[in-house]
C-alpha cells in the first residue's frame, strides 16, 4: 500500500516534468506589443503577441497572465488570432478563453488559458490579438479633492510583459489623455511623446520578468459607474419592443472634499468643477421612439435628442452635476420597432438585441437584463457571446392570465465592450395574439349580458302590493299597445301594396294580376283584424288602459274606414279598366275617394304618433 502511493507520487512528478514544463517553456514570444488606452475610466489593453514554438512537441494551449491586482479587475477579455497570410487577408477569429488554476504559477498572478485553433507544431508561429478591459485600475490620487482641484489618477503596470514564456522583444505604449501628466516611472528607453508614453523595446526577457511602473496623470473622463442597472426589454408582437432602464449612477472618481458652491460652478465651470460631469450620452438604436427620462420626482426636462437614420443620440443631464462620490437615480425608456429586432428562423422566433447599457463609457457593476416575452411563449433559450447568469421568472402585465415568461440575465462588471448582441429564442404562435382582444370582447359582452339580465329581473320586494300589480298591468297594456301598433303598421303596408298594384295596372293594363293582389291583401287584412280583436278586448277590459282604449278604438275604426275606402277605390278602378273607360274618366270618379283616403291616412298616422308617446 505504502509502496504503491510512493509509485503514484513518482509517476505524478514524472508527468509534471513531462507535460507541464514543456507547455510553459517551449513557447517563445518573439514579439510583444502592448498598447494601453486610459482616455476613459476604463483601462483598455490591446496586445499583439507573436508566438513561436521552439520546442519539439506541438502545443495546443497558450497561457495568458496578468498581475493579480489587474486580473481581479478584469472586466472583458477576448483573444483572437489573425488568419491568412499577408496584411490584406487578415481576418480575426475569436478563440475560447477560460480561467485556469495557477498550477506551478505564483499566487500573485491571474492565469487564463487560451485554446489554440490548431496545435502549434515545432517552429510554427502564430499571432494573437488580445483585448482586455480593466475597471477600477485608475486609482484617484489624491483620494479626496476640493471643487477647484483637478482630477488626478494613477495607473500601475509592468513595463515588461509578465508571461510564463520567454520574450524576445517587447514594447509598451500608454495613451494618456491630452492633459497634465504629474509623473511617471523613468526606466531605460522611456519616452514621452505628446500624450503617449513609451517603454521599450526591451530585448530577451526571462519568463516572469516584471518591472513596476506608475503613471500619475490628470483624467478628464467621467467616472460614471452604474452600481445597479436593470434593463427591462418587453416584446409585444403588436409591433413594439419596449426598453426600460433603471440607473443607479455614482461618480467613482476622487471624492469631493469640503462644500459644493453652485455659484463657483456656474460662473467658472472649467477650473471650478473639473472633476464633475454634467451629462451622459446614450446612443440608442435608430428609429427609437417615445423616449422618456425621469426619476422618482417626475420628468427630468434637461435632455436633448438628436436622431438620424443610423442612430438616436440622447444627451441626458441629471438634476445636478455629479462630483466624486455623488449618486443619482433615474429611469430612461424607449420603444423600438419590432421588425428591427425580432426575426424568425427555422420556425423559431428570436430577439436580437444589445446586451449592455446604451450610455457611452459607462461601467456597470451589476447588470440585470430582463427579457419579457409575450404570454404563451415556449421553448425559451438564450445565446450570449460571453458567460452570464440565467434564470426565469413570470411577470404579470396588462391583459395577462398565465403571466409572461421573463428571461433574467445577470452579469457583474460590465463594460462597453460587452455591448454585443444576445439572442433570445422562443416559440410563439400568432393565434395567441388574439387572446388579448378576445379578453376585451368578452369583458364588454359580460357587461351587455348583465344589462340584459337586469332589464329582465324583478326587484320588487312585495309581490302583492297594489302598486306592483298596477305596474305589472301597465306593462301588459304597453306590450298590447305595441302589438296593436305593429298590426296597424302592417295594415298600412298592405294598403301601400294595394296602391302599388293599382299603379302597375295603369302602367301595364294587366287586370288579372291586380285582382290576384286584391285577393291576397283581402285575406291578409282579414287575418290582421282577427289578430287585433283579442288585443282590443284586453285593452277594453283592463282598468289601467281606460284612458287609452278610446284612442285605440278610434284608431282601429279609422283604419277600417280607410280600408273600406281603399277597397271601394280599387273596385272602381278595376271596373273602369274592365269597361275600358278612359284614364281621365276613372280619375274623375275616384278623385273624391282619393281625398278622403289621404285625410284618413293622416289621421291614422297622428293617432299612431300619440300612442307612441305613451
Amino acid at each position: 500500500m505504502k509502496q504503491s502511493s510512493v509509485v503514484d507520487l513518482l509517476l505524478l512528478l514524472l508527468a509534471i516534468a513531462l507535460f507541464a514544463t514543456p507547455a510553459f517553456s517551449d513557447l517563445v514570444l518573439s514579439k510583444v506589443e502592448r498598447r494601453i488606452d486610459v482616455n476613459s475610466q476604463i483601462a483598455r489593453v490591446t496586445k499583439t503577441l507573436k508566438v513561436v514554438n521552439s520546442g519539439s512537441e506541438s502545443v495546443s494551449e497558450f497561457i495568458l497572465t496578468f498581475p493579480k491586482f489587474l486580473g481581479n479587475n478584469l472586466a472583458y477579455l477576448s483573444v483572437a488570432h489573425s488568419e491568412g497570410k499577408g496584411k490584406s487577408k487578415r481576418s480575426l477569429v475569436n478563440l475560447s478563453v477560460r480561467e485556469a488554476d495557477s498550477k506551478g504559477i505564483p499566487d500573485s498572478i491571474s492565469v487564463y488559458s487560451v485554446a489554440l485553433p490548431k496545435p502549434l507544431s515545432k517552429g510554427d508561429t502564430l499571432t494573437l490579438e488580445v483585448v482586455a478591459a480593466f475597471t477600477n485600475v485608475l486609482q484617484p490620487f489624491p483620494e479626496k479633492i476640493t471643487q477647484g482641484e483637478i482630477h488626478l489618477v494613477m495607473l500601475q503596470e509592468s513595463a515588461q510583459y509578465l508571461s510564463p514564456y520567454a520574450v524576445e522583444s517587447q514594447s509598451l505604449s500608454i495613451k494618456l489623455p491630452n492633459a497634465r501628466i504629474e509623473s511617471y516611472t523613468k526606466l531605460e528607453n522611456t519616452k514621452l511623446q505628446g500624450s503617449e508614453l513609451k517603454y521599450g523595446p526591451y530585448k530577451n526577457l526571462q519568463s516572469y520578468s516584471y518591472s513596476p511602473i506608475v503613471v500619475h496623470f490628470e483624467s478628464k473622463a467621467a467616472f460614471a459607474v452604474a452600481e445597479n442597472l436593470v434593463r427591462e426589454i418587453e416584446v409585444s408582437h403588436w409591433g413594439n419592443v419596449q426598453v426600460t432602464e433603471h440607473y443607479n449612477v455614482v461618480h467613482r472618481g476622487a471624492q469631493l472634499r469640503g462644500e459644493f458652491s453652485r455659484l463657483d460652478f456656474q460662473a467658472r465651470p472649467n477650473p471650478r468643477g473639473a472633476s464633475a460631469f454634467r451629462h451622459l450620452l446614450a446612443r440608442l438604436p435608430p428609429r427609437a421612439h417615445s423616449i422618456y427620462y425621469r426619476d422618482d420626482i417626475g420628468n427630468i426636462s434637461t435632455s436633448e435628442m438628436q436622431s438620424d437614420s443610423k442612430k438616436t443620440e440622447l444627451l441626458i443631464e441629471p438634476r445636478f452635476p455629479l462630483f466624486g462620490g455623488w449618486k443619482t437615480f433615474f429611469t430612461i425608456g424607449y420603444g423600438l420597432p419590432l421588425s428591427d429586432f425580432l426575426f424568425v428562423s427555422e420556425g423559431k422566433r428570436f430577439l436580437n438585441i444589445s446586451f449592455g447599457s446604451p450610455i457611452l463609457d459607462l461601467v456597470t457593476e451589476k447588470l440585470i437584463v430582463q427579457v419579457v416575452l409575450p404570454e404563451g411563449s415556449k421553448d425559451i433559450s438564450v445565446t450570449t457571446p460571453f458567460a452570464v447568469k440565467q434564470s426565469q421568472e413570470i411577470k404579470y402585465s396588462h391583459l395577462d392570465i398565465a403571466g409572461r415568461p421573463v428571461v433574467v440575465l445577470e452579469k457583474n462588471n460590465v463594460v462597453p465592450d460587452h455591448n454585443q448582441h444576445i439572442q433570445v429564442y422562443y416559440k410563439f404562435s400568432n393565434i395567441n395574439l388574439l387572446s388579448e382582444p378576445l379578453m376585451l370582447i368578452s369583458g364588454f359582452f359580460i357587461l351587455f349580458i348583465t344589462c340584459i339580465i337586469y332589464t329582465r329581473a324583478d326587484f320588487s320586494i312585495s309581490k302583492s302590493s297594489p302598486t306592483y300589480l298596477a305596474k305589472l298591468q301597465w306593462d301588459e297594456v304597453l306590450a298590447t299597445l305595441q302589438e296593436v301598433q305593429s298590426i296597424i303598421q302592417k295594415c298600412l303596408a298592405t294598403h301601400d301594396k294595394l296602391e302599388a298594384s293599382l299603379r302597375d295596372l295603369s302602367r301595364t293594363g294587366d287586370i288579372q294580376t291586380c285582382k290576384a293582389a286584391r285577393k291576397s291583401t283581402d285575406s291578409l287584412l282579414k287575418d290582421l283584424s282577427k289578430e287585433l280583436k283579442p288585443l282590443l278586448g284586453f285593452l277594453q277590459s283592463s282598468p289601467s288602459a281606460s284612458h287609452i282604449s278610446p284612442k285605440v278604438e278610434e284608431l282601429v275604426a279609422k283604419e277600417k274606414e280607410l280600408e273600406e275606402k281603399l277597397m271601394a277605390k280599387h273596385t272602381t278602378v278595376v271596373e273602369g279598366y274592365e269597361k275600358k273607360s278612359s284614364g281621365r274618366d276613372i280619375e274623375n270618379r275616384i278623385a273624391s275617394q282619393q281625398q278622403k283616403i289621404i285625410a284618413l291616412r293622416q289621421e291614422i298616422e297622428d293617432l299612431l304618433e300619440f300612442i307612441d308617446e305613451i
Binding site: E234, S236, H237, W238, G239, N240, Q242, S290, G335, P337, L338, S339, D340, L342, F343, V344, S345, E346, R349, F350, N352, S397, H398, L399, N430, L433, E436, P437, L438, L440, I441, S442, G443, F444, F445, L447, F448, I449, C451, I452, T455, R456, D475, E476, L478, A479, Q482, E483
Partner: protein, 76 residues
C-alpha cells in the same frame, strides 16, 4: 440560415385611425342596443336580437379598445 424580420399583423401607423373607426361603430351599436332595451316592453323583447346586437357591439368595442391601447403606447 435566413432570418426574416417579424412585423406586427397590422401596421403600427394604422392603430389610431382603426381605433377611432371601430370604437365609433361599436358605440353606435351599443346605443342601438340600449335604445332597444329602453323602448321595448318587457313582454315583447327578443333575446336573440339583444344577444346579436350585444355580440356585434362587443366585438367592435373590444378591438377598438385594443387599438386605442396600442395607439396610446400601451403595448399589451
Amino acid at each position: 440560415m435566413a432570418a426574416k424580420p417579424i412585423a406586427s399583423p397590422i401596421p403600427v401607423a394604422l392603430y389610431p385611425t382603426l381605433s377611432v373607426f371601430t370604437l365609433a361603430i361599436g358605440l353606435v351599436i351599443t346605443a342601438i342596443f340600449f335604445i332597444y332595451e329602453a323602448t321595448s316592453s318587457r313582454k315583447n323583447r327578443s333575446v336573440g336580437k339583444e344577444l346579436a346586437t350585444s355580440a356585434v357591439a362587443s366585438v367592435f368595442l373590444g378591438f377598438g379598445s385594443l387599438f386605442l391601447l396600442l395607439a396610446s403606447g400601451v403595448y399589451v
